[in-house]
Symmetry: C2
Subunit: 338 residues, 2 copies
């Protein structure tokens, strides 16, 4: 990646120049149009936009950080959209301004995106206190992560005090969303104990709560059984948040049952972690971890030009065939013989 | 790190030159002295030794890879040394040549090392078919990982057909040992269900088997209960090895009870994974993953000179204080202002 010299002084607006000062100011007044514009800048793949995007984030940093950030994961069909609609309605009724974002690494492949289907969030989609933004459809998960993290900051600067980040849980996406949120929730389906098998590796050690959705009608009993199964396992795992015991709960987003309880649970979580200092500690750690990740991404982008990428593939295949030792391969990658 | 030009042609031996050809040949004849010498070269921190070490590994690669590699982890006091003594005795009696290695990231701090106390492995320590090597005491876990992986290859080239790699499980060391072994075993203590709490994050998703040691005397009943508790959890987790269901077992290394059963279990594991192709698939993947890790280590070593390290620390603290956005910090790290 090129690193163009950054211009901090913005001259008269010309076609390709961006007035960051103006965008930043408008965002802090809560202007939705400018918020969208700012996010578009952050999501731009044009290399010469990057310094402007960085400048925008930097300018808004003092106004950001004051929200509660909630991550939500769950397999397709777990009812994430319906749950967010129900939970968001509760939040709005209590006077909160909500932003709903998504991290969907598959959207760049499918062209589609979760949250694209706003019909399942009809109430939120039309509410003036709610801002919904689908997943950026960048090529790499690292790129999507950066964009979403920066979008959170922009939304916070715009006055949104509850940020919901949804993910379908493809690849490493749960870990990435856990790494940018305060509270992380797994939305699960009802099902017999056996259905818990094949659960994604490590997912239960990331969560602050598990919510078994669709606990209604003939599903209710099974949901309660599933809840017990989850609690059984959670008992043995190291909690994701120091001092907080994650538990499983049931709810029915469709019938608005159990939503208020989750609201109270999250409130309790935020209060207790703020009191213990865990809340701020996690935020600081997340920012520093993110910085480290960006350094690694940048190092790799700088090193792996087309030629190195090609060489790496060739060497990898020799390592796979046991023709080259990994150490020897890396030597050849860094000091290719003429 | 410097990357000195590599000399493939070794001239007459002078004081600082190493005759790799000779070391390699002697190692393949099973010469223990030369094996130790080779490992010392691999563990050398002298930059000008690295090309020789790489050359040695590369030369021995065709003779390596034919062993069974077993990783063993467990908290201090779980009886790892006693278990290895008992298990090793069984293996030796069946005609196997065994190498016992260790990955102990704490040894560079404490100056000591697991396996240092050979008194607990008195039989193995004096057996001609057993080679014991304590953990390298390098500064970084990445360094220790490289050295241990390469030591495995050297031991294999020397004819050892069973490699045991022990780790105390500090930091990321279990993941690292899992990444270099075919079969990974957690040695656990007896204890009530509650003792399973506080177990290390993610450890149970790495294992192919759990062995509850010290299942003797008044401990036996508790051990069986612990075994049931573990099996309860294992049921819900994604297995570390495709097609293999990890289970908990009991044994008493002290009274040599249950050791033969673990031997059979491992034999069954190796047979079934070789048949399904998982064995070779894992080996290839491990080599390629190791290569990727070496690339990352090298990229970081090249970039982070003293000045960059210092700058990184300064920037990190500003990110922690929320004075700088991570993106802005990384920009400053790569393009520092004069």
């Amino acid at each position: 990646m090129n690193n163009p010299n950054k211009k901090r002084v913005f001259k008269k607006k010309t076609q390709d120049q961006v007035n960051i000062q103006e965008i930043a100011e408008k965002i802090t007044t809560g202007d939705r149009g400018y918020l969208s514009k700012g996010i578009t800048l952050i999501e731009s793949s044009a290399v010469h936009h990057r310094p402007y995007a960085n400048e925008l984030v930097q300018q808004l940093l003092p106004s950001a950080g004051k929200s509660i950030r909630i991550g939500i994961t769950g397999v397709p069909g777990a009812g994430k959209s319906t749950w967010i609609e129900a939970f968001g309605k509760t939040a709005v009724s209590k006077g909160y301004k909500i932003a709903v974002l998504a991290v969907d690494p598959s959207s760049s492949l499918s062209g589609g995106s979760i949250l694209g289907d706003k019909t399942r969030m009809e109430f939120l989609a039309h509410h003036p206190d709610v801002f919904i933004r689908p997943s950026p459809s960048s090529g790499t998960l690292g790129g999507v992560a950066r964009m979403t993290r920066e979008t959170i900051l922009l939304c916070e600067a715009a006055g949104y005090d509850l940020i919901l980040v949804e993910t379908v849980g493809v690849g490493q996406s749960e870990g990435i969303v856990r790494g940018m949120t305060d509270f992380f929730l797994l939305l699960s389906l009802t099902g017999a104990g056996d259905e818990l098998q094949g659960m994604k590796k490590g997912i239960m050690e990331l969560v602050d709560a598990i919510v078994i959705n669709k606990a209604d009608g003939s599903n209710r009993e099974q949901a309660i059984q599933t809840m017990h199964d989850y609690n059984q396992i959670l008992r043995f795992l190291t909690p994701a948040t120091t001092g907080w015991k994650p538990r499983a709960h049931t709810c029915s987003a469709l019938y608005n049952e159990g939503i208020q309880e989750i609201w109270e649970l999250i409130r309790e979580f935020i209060e207790s972690t703020k009191e213990s200092g865990e809340f701020d500690k996690r935020r600081s750690k997340q920012a520093v971890d993110w910085m480290s990740q960006l350094v690694q991404i940048r190092l790799n982008e700088t090193f792996f030009n087309q030629q190195k990428k090609y060489l790496m593939k060739t060497l990898e295949s020799k390592v796979r065939q046991n023709e080259l030792s990994p150490s020897e391969a890396v030597d050849l990658l860094f000091n290719p013989k003429a």
